[in-house]
């Protein structure tokens, strides 16, 4: 009975969404802002990757909100899974297979390096802080899977997270005192196009986001993998 009602409701919603989307031409540009970004993003922000110039340039304030949402989600998970004073340990302590534990030794530094590469080159190549941070967190996940005894340094992770979050906001506030006087204004020199030290504050912010997201998601994995004894 419940399933039938659910299916009927789902069909109604589907038909409604379908009808409302029918009038919009698929794939056709609806506004002119996209063309503006593609034409002018390089001169405006100095970043070669137009996606990055939107995410950390034109819409940097939205990104600050996005980072805050992720922070609150990680905080909520930590609060739900927190153990009140009890001893924390890990379950399922059977050792990992030789392939996993030996592969981890070679792969862990490489994955960390790849994640750092993604967020330091966010303004030049595809990717950025969020992708790089997720890659770094997956490296820590690999460690958790391969060696059950190891744990991340929790105070170090939370210190990294807080400092990089503060760096993001501090850079934004510095923008108020320079040049055009608005929050997250790009006050650093833009440099030559297509070089590592270009695009002003964009690589700095992306490094902060990468470290923040990486330590946050590693903390989430840490919270989930351990349980009270």
């Amino acid at each position: 009975m419940r399933a039938t009602v659910g299916l009927i409701l789902l069909a109604v919603i589907g038909v409604g969404v379908g009808i409302s989307l029918l009038a919009i031409p698929f794939g056709a540009p609806k506004t002119e802002i996209g063309d503006y970004y593609i034409e002018n993003a390089r001169e405006d922000t100095g970043a070669t990757n137009v996606v990055t110039s939107v995410v950390v340039g034109y819409r940097a304030f939205d990104t600050l909100g996005e980072v805050t949402v992720l922070f609150v989600a990680a905080l909520g998970l930590g609060a739900v899974l927190a153990t009140a004073g009890g001893k924390r340990g890990r379950s399922g302590v059977e050792p990992a297979s030789l392939i996993l534990s030996a592969g981890n030794i070679f792969l862990f530094p490489l994955i960390l390096l790849f994640g750092a590469y993604i967020f330091t080159h966010g303004h030049l190549t595809p990717g950025g802080g969020f992708q790089g941070g997720a890659v770094i967190a997956s490296a820590f996940l690999l460690v958790y899977l391969s060696s059950p005894g190891k744990r991340i340094n929790e105070s170090g992770a939370s210190l990294t997270e807080s400092v990089s979050g503060l760096v993001f906001v501090a850079i934004g506030l510095l923008g108020l005192t320079h040049g055009t006087h608005y929050f997250l204004a790009n006050f650093l020199p833009k440099g030559a196009l297509n070089t590592l030290f270009s695009a002003g504050i964009i690589p700095v912010i992306y490094c902060a986001i990468g470290l923040k997201v990486g330590s946050e998601l590693a903390g989430v994995v840490d919270n989930l993998m351990e349980e009270t004894e």
């Binding site: 990055t52 595809p126 997720a134 890659v135 967190a137």
Partner: protein
């Protein structure tokens, strides 16, 4: 190009339906991981490499791991 995209979408739909049908939740999680992985390949073919990277690292890797951990702590089979 259109053939590759259609094949990818077809495989995604198959994996999504499989994830719904499986009673074994571990198999269902692997099937939904396949949906994310194929979606990231599809994003790459649609010239959105930024989204493809986010989908591959978060959708295929981290979310799958979190679901597997959750299944290990609860029950593996749906009633």
């Amino acid at each position: 190009m259109i053939i590759i995209v259609s094949l990818l979408v077809l495989a995604m739909l198959t994996a999504a339906v499989a994830a719904l049908i499986y009673r074994d939740l571990l198999s269902a999680v692997i099937a939904s991981c396949l949906v994310s992985l194929l979606a990231s390949i599809l994003f790459f073919f649609l010239q959105a490499p930024d989204v493809a990277m986010a989908e591959a690292s978060i959708g295929a890797a981290l979310v799958t791991a979190i679901f597997v951990i959750a299944i290990r702590r609860t029950k593996r089979y749906e009633e």
